[in-house]
Symmetry: C3
Subunit: 261 residues, 3 copies
């Protein structure tokens, strides 16, 4: 997409989240900083209705309960019917059996358009041998580029593996996003925010692979710019929001660092 | 009230919140920055007891569930018995039927002293034709000044409609608060924090209409001062807290921008 | 312990939290800033499994429900079996009977290694006459140093009473930590973060009394350094994270302000 930021800021898509209680504020605030409208709503009674007026749905199982997974499935069915993108952030898959089971339950019940996680979370989902240390990736033996492409192909969706380099594939095309900065890992919530940003870009771009690539490039570029001004995680986080809000398509396009594979 | 800030800082009223999971930290932190003591407690088993030691109750339905609404009603009944102010932030009314129904359930079960929302939320509550885009106001056809005054009169309470200009009425008097800055809309949670600030001022001022007016003027003035120093939503939010904590009654009184109607 | 920070940053212990919804982000982010890995997970179905891969468990009853207390007890039993430290932050004990009862339920069901609270919370737990104003300490008549030592002795655990001076005892030894700054009380969540930091230090130091002392000294020193650069609660919080992340064992050891009693 040529100018995703302008499109987001002009159309202000509503991005419905059912997410975790740790980073829920930052997921909302980052969505807002990019120019979209976040709404967080998890009651089963309104889950479908809220998705019904949204342009994208972001699910995050970071602090999942059975009840919350139920609401996610209701909303995802509504999103499937309406053909708006569903992004699943598979936080902590590979850490406990319950997370593995609940992620499987979502994936068996509805179509997820973008499955996102860190290297070990996605490797575990894809059936590889992998453990996650709480919500932190551990190193995996298999090649993430292969996993992303094969898993995306098998599920007819887009797969995003975030890490030092972000791997994105829809089963045919593959992208390696090299934008970003180590400081992004110094604060809690960057991964969750990335899922919100992917949802935001996918809300205005029906090519979800392209949307995920743009989202992670732009997000990473804002992180690079913020890191230049920062002296630690506190100042970094503050500048991160300023840089996202101040980003333009022109500025971002001149800083893209992405390869196809 | 002549010097509300000094009164708040000297008496340190306890402001009990049953609120949403997105902005719960900022509601607490803003209450603290103004000088009051926030407490967030939503278990039904302690809802009435916690309200029983508080000086104001703030309810916010941003991430409502049936269970949470139940706790809100228990607390509001305790507040009514104790004659301390109940502030309801009607977040997202007009977005889903569930929110409309749950807000109505609260309003039918207890006396709410200050009903607060954005233009479309309050218009919807007042029976006008209005939709809310998630938790974001959409433009309404009717005159908000008329809605606020008539709705306040019909419910014998104070009505607050927040937006570019904040409209406040108790059915007889009406105020238009013009303090504030666009930057306040650049971050998530300003509306929720405003309800906390109204609760804080109402905790020390039995004239709730006057308290709401002072609260929104002071809150807006701190926003104006913070905006002067900010380069985006990250720096704005940081300075906002500093300016609130550094505000004095003298400084605020010299910057009031409010009209009667 | 000679160099706790280096040990934390090299071993990156996983610190499992079941905590409150107000400060959950800051508990996680402060744990991360010290160099450990936080994970927040409260579903009963995974509580024991998540604790099973962790090096410490931090429980915080700030926004307790019966259900959440159940998950805490499941996790604490798993921690007891695995012999990893359990830290309980007794937020709001002394404010409502429900909090008193639920704290007692935890303490009757499992072994808690570090019981932490403000002066009135711990005094109440220890059977003294004390009230808590929401989650804010009120002054107590009894001597906190005596309470900490006797209560720790009676329960064979470490007791931490936080306030202007932090009191720590394992029943035999006692410490008075004088590091810290008034600015730490200007933001919501410092107390909760302190419990996370104690959990982080206890994860790498089997002498939990020593770990708690180091944790509160280091935490207080970062607060002192941040306060020097701050103009209010907003700037303070930002700098606080930078100073924690930038702290070294050498720098901290040179600024210790602690007495034995």
């Amino acid at each position: 997409m040529e100018k995703p930021l302008i499109t987001i800021r002009e159309t202000k898509p509503l991005v419905h989240h059912i997410t975790n209680w740790v980073t829920i504020y930052d997921c909302a605030n980052m969505t807002r900083a990019f120019g979209a409208l976040p709404v967080m709503a998890h009651a089963r009674e309104e889950a479908a209705d809220m998705t019904g007026i949204a342009s994208a749905l972001v699910l995050n199982i970071g602090t999942l309960t059975s009840d919350l997974i139920g609401a996610m499935i209701i909303s995802a069915k509504a999103a499937n019917e309406k053909s708006i993108p569903v992004v699943l952030d598979a936080v902590g898959v590979g850490a406990t059996k319950f997370r593995d089971d609940m992620a499987a339950k979502i994936l068996d019940s509805v179509h997820v358009d973008v499955i996102k996680g860190n290297y070990s979370e996605i490797a575990k989902l894809a059936g590889e041998d992998a453990q996650t240390k709480g919500v932190e990736a551990t190193s995996i033996e298999a090649d993430p580029k292969r996993i992303a492409k094969e898993y995306a192909d098998s599920r007819s969706c887009v797969v995003v593996m975030t890490g030092k380099e972000d791997i994105i594939s829809d089963g045919k095309r593959g992208f390696i996003v090299k934008n970003g900065h180590d400081s992004m890992g110094s604060i809690v919530g960057t991964g969750c925010m990335a899922a919100s940003v992917i949802g935001t870009f996918a809300a205005v771009n029906p090519d979800y692979c392209d949307a995920a690539k743009d989202a992670l490039c732009y997000f990473g570029i804002a992180g690079e710019l913020a890191a230049e001004k920062s002296g630690g995680p506190g100042t970094f986080k503050m500048h991160f929001y300023d840089e996202v809000a101040g980003l333009s398509d022109e500025n971002a396009q001149s800083k893209l660092n992405v390869e196809e594979y």
